[in-house]
Symmetry: C2
Subunit: 549 residues, 2 copies
Amino acid sequence: MKIALAQLNYITGDFSGNVTKIIEVVRKSRDSGAELVVFAELAITGYPPRDFLEFEDFILKSEDAVKQIAAECKGIAAIVGGPSRNLTGRGKPLFNTAWFLSDGVVKHLTHKSLLPNYDVFDEYRYFEPANEYQIITFKGVKLAVTICEDIWNTGEIPLYNRFPMDELVLQHPDLVINIAASPFNYHQALIRKQVLRENALKYKLPVVYVNHVGAQTELIFDGGSMACDDGGNVKEALAFFDEDFRVVDVDKSWTGAVPASEIVIPEKVDDIGVVHDALVLGIRDYFGKLGFNKAILGLSGGIDSAVTMVLAAEALGHENVRGILLPSEFSSGHSIDDARQLAINLGSPYDQISIAEAYKSFERSLHPFFKDLPFGLAEENLQARTRAVILMAMSNKFGYILLNTSNKSEAAVGYGTLYGDMCGGLSVLGDVYKTEVYQLAAYINREREIIPENSITKPPSAELRPGQKDSDSLPDYELLDRLLYQYIEKRKGPRELEEMGFESALVARVLRMVNTNEWKRYQTPPILRVSPKAFGMGRRMPIVGKYLG
Amino acid sequence: MKIALAQLNYITGDFSGNVTKIIEVVRKSRDSGAELVVFAELAITGYPPRDFLEFEDFILKSEDAVKQIAAECKGIAAIVGGPSRNLTGRGKPLFNTAWFLSDGVVKHLTHKSLLPNYDVFDEYRYFEPANEYQIITFKGVKLAVTICEDIWNTGEIPLYNRFPMDELVLQHPDLVINIAASPFNYHQALIRKQVLRENALKYKLPVVYVNHVGAQTELIFDGGSMACDDGGNVKEALAFFDEDFRVVDVDKSWTGAVPASEIVIPEKVDDIGVVHDALVLGIRDYFGKLGFNKAILGLSGGIDSAVTMVLAAEALGHENVRGILLPSEFSSGHSIDDARQLAINLGSPYDQISIAEAYKSFERSLHPFFKDLPFGLAEENLQARTRAVILMAMSNKFGYILLNTSNKSEAAVGYGTLYGDMCGGLSVLGDVYKTEVYQLAAYINREREIIPENSITKPPSAELRPGQKDSDSLPDYELLDRLLYQYIEKRKGPRELEEMGFESALVARVLRMVNTNEWKRYQTPPILRVSPKAFGMGRRMPIVGKYLG
C-alpha cells in the first residue's frame, strides 16, 4: 500500500490555516499515487490546544474542519487527528481521535487509549481513554491505527494498565500506523526509534509513524516521522525541524526483516547540534506564529546573551535582531567591546544606552529610605531592573519582542533579578545549563569566531558590583550543573545525591536555593524545552512549602 | 461511635510540623473520648504536594510520618491522608490513600478511585486510581471510607465511569467517612453540602466529612468540615477559614432522618463576605508559611489598591502594611489625598516617592531613539515600570513582599503593564472582577468609612496620561464583567455570547483582548483563587495560537 506521510507545522486553533494546509497535502498525496495519507495527532487543532478544548465553539469548529477535509478525500483516504465527542454519557466529554476519512466522508473513529498526563502533558484533563480496539480494513490491508502513547507502554514498569497493541494484534493487522504529537528533547529522536523498534519486533509488524513539526510556545516538535519494517529497521526517515512529505510503498519487502540493532540512549545530551536547531526553530515559530519578526535583547558581553543573539539571528535574520548595550559604572571595558564585536560579527544592529543616569535618579529617590545602608542586593537588582525598563520601552515603542537570556543553571538557583534580567517574551536558554551554553558557543564558533572568544573564556559575572563573579555566589558551574541535573531531571533526593558523592553541605545549599526560588520561576517567560525536564508547564512545584529536598 | 473531626491547616512538605500537629490532635481526641479521629486527604504532605510526589525522598519521608502517627494511635484509631506506593508493577507509582491506623500500626489502606484532573487539579499526574473497594469494620461499625471526589461523581453526565459508593454500599456500611482537600470558591460550601446531601439520601447513610483549612499559595481551603445524618441534615458544622475540632457521636439518631431540603446554588457570588474572609486567609497564610510578615504596595488612590491594602491590614496587622504613593505628573491631587487618607484611616505607615525624576531620566536616555515620536503606550508603561522598580527596591531592601493589586477584569483584557503594575509576590484581587471589587469596598466600609468614598465613586483611571479613564480603552465594567464571566467561568464561545445578547463587535473585541494577552498573564504572580475559574494553574491556555474565541 502506498502511504503518504505528511509532517506539517500547524498553528494551534488556526482551523482555517490548518485545514487549508491539510487539504493541499491530501491533493498532493493523491497526485503522487498514494492511497492513504497520514497526518499527525490533533493536527486539526494543533498541539496542545489546552483549555480551548473546554469550549463548545472550539469543538464545533474542529468538527467542521473534519468535514471539510473529508469532502476532499475522494480517490484517497486520510487519517487525521482531532478531538471527537464522547457520546457515552459518562466520563470526560472528548476523545483524542484518529479520524479515518474516505469516499468524501468519515468512515471510522479510533480513540486514543493511553493518555499522557505527566511532565508537559495534560491529556487526561480533557479526554476519556478508549477501551475498545478495532482495526480498520482499507483496500484489503488491515491497519492497526494507534495514537502516540498507545504504542509507548513499554518498559519494566508500564505506566498504564492497558496495552492497546496487545489487543489489536489479536485482529491480525498487517501494519501499525501511529499518529503522534511527540515533542523534542535531546533524546527523543533516539527514544522514538527505540519504541518503534520494540513494537515492530514484539508484534512482527511494520510501523508508519507521523509526528508534528514546529514549535508551540515552549514545546518544540522536531518531526522525525518515519516508517520501519517488521525488524524495526528504519526504511524511510523524514526531516528534522522542518516540514516534510514522503510516499512510502509498504509491500512484502517490509516483512520478515532482520531485526535492527538495539538503540542505546545516552545519559545526557550528546549532540549539541540538535539543541541548537531546536532552539532556532523554537524562536522562529514563536515569533512567526505570533506575527512578530523583530527581537531585541540586552547584550552584556557575556556568553548567555551572545548565544541567545546568535540563535535569534539564525531564526529571524541578523538584521531583525537588535542588541542593546546597557553599561553601568560596574561594567568592564571588555564587556562593552565584546558585546559590540558580537553585533558586528553578526551584522546586526546595536546601540548603547547607559543606565547610569536612571540608576542615579533611583538612588536619589530612594535615599530618604535607604540612607547610608550598605550597597547590597537591592542596589544590584535596581541596576538589572533599570536595564529591563529601557529594553521594554524599546520593545513597546518599536514592536520588538524582548528575548530573555537566562540559562537553566541561573533559573534553577534563582541567580537573576525578577523584573530585571528575568524579563522577556521568550526564554531561549532557560532549559540549557550553563555548561551546555558553553557547548552551544563552541558549536556556533565551529567554523569561524562569531561569539568573541573573550565572552567564552572570561569568568562569568553579573557585573552588578565591583569585581563581582558568579563564583562568589555559586558553586563552580561544572559541579553545580551535575548536581542540578540529578536533582531536576532525575529527581534524586538529598540522600541519593550524597550517595552519588556530592557533599552534604553543597546538596543542602543547592536544593535550598532551587526550592526557595520557585516564586521567581513562577513569573518567568515561557522556556523553550529541549531537555526531558524543563522549568515551566512540565515541572509543577508548590511556591509555599517547607520541603527543601 | 464517637468520631473526632480534625480540621487543620497544614504546610506542604513540612512533615515534621504536620506530624507534630496531627499527633497532638490524636492525643486530644483520645482525651476527649473519641474512638476514631479523622484527618483530611493528603494531610501528611499538605495539599497539593505537586511534583514533590515524584521524589523518592519525599515518599520515604511521608511513609516515615505515617509510622510516627500510627505509633501514637493506641486506644484510638485514626484515618489520615497520605500517598502510598503502587506495588502492582503497573500504572502510576502512587495511590492517594486514606491510612487507617490503630493499635499502634497501619491496619488498612483505602485508595482514592476518582482522581480530579480538571481546573486546578492534577491528581492523575501522580496517582493510579483504585478499582477495588473494601469497607473497614472498626469496633463493630462498618465504615465506607472514601476520599474527596470518590463521592462527587453525581450529576446528569458523570465525569467518571466508576461509582465507588455504589460498590461500597453492597457491603452494607453503617457510615460514610470522606476525607477531602476541597478548595474554596464562592460556591463551594453550598456545593459541598449538596454533594453530602445527595450521598446521604442516595445511600441512606450518615456522612462524616473532614476538609483542609488554610491557603497553599493560590488555593484557599475554607474548612467547612461537617457531619450529616442519613437525611442529609447537617448535624455538626465546623468553622470556616479557621482550624477546628469537634467530637461527634454518630448514634442511632443519625438514621431514619427526614430529608434536608434541596440546596440551591446561585449563578454568581452572592456573599461577598466569604470572598473577603477567603482573601484575608490567603494573604495571611502566604506570608506566614513563607516566613514573612510585612507587605508593601503602591497606593494609587484608586479602589483596587485600597481594597488590597485593607485586606492585607486585616491579614497581617495594619502596622505591617506599608503603602507607597508614587505620583507622577499625571496624578491628580485627589488621588494623592485619597491614598493618604486610606493609610491614615487604617493606621498604616505610608510614604510618598515621586517617580518624576526617574521617569524624566528614562525619557532622556531614550530620546535618541524615541526622538519626537508621539507619547504612547511605551511612555505609559514606562511610568508603571518606574513605580515597580521603586517598590521592588523597597521590598528587597527591607524584606517586604510586594502585593499585586490587579483585578480580574484588567488581568483578563491585559489592561496592565507587565513588569509594572502587574508585579508582586501575590495577586490579591486577580480573581475578583472590578464590579466585585466595588462590592468588597462596600463590605469593608459597612460600618465606617475606611476606604475614602472618593476612591469608590470616581471614574477608574490608570492616570498614565492626562485625563485618562479606563472607559477610554475598555467597555463599561458592568458590561465587561458580565461578558468575561460568561467567557471565562462558563466557557461560552462567540456564537453563544451573541445569542445571550452581547453585541457581536463587543464579543469579538473582548475575546480578542483576552486571548492575545495570555503572554502577560503567563508572567503574573500567583492569584488567590475565589471563583470556580481563576487565572493561573486552573486555566491553561496556549500563548501562541490563532483561536480568538
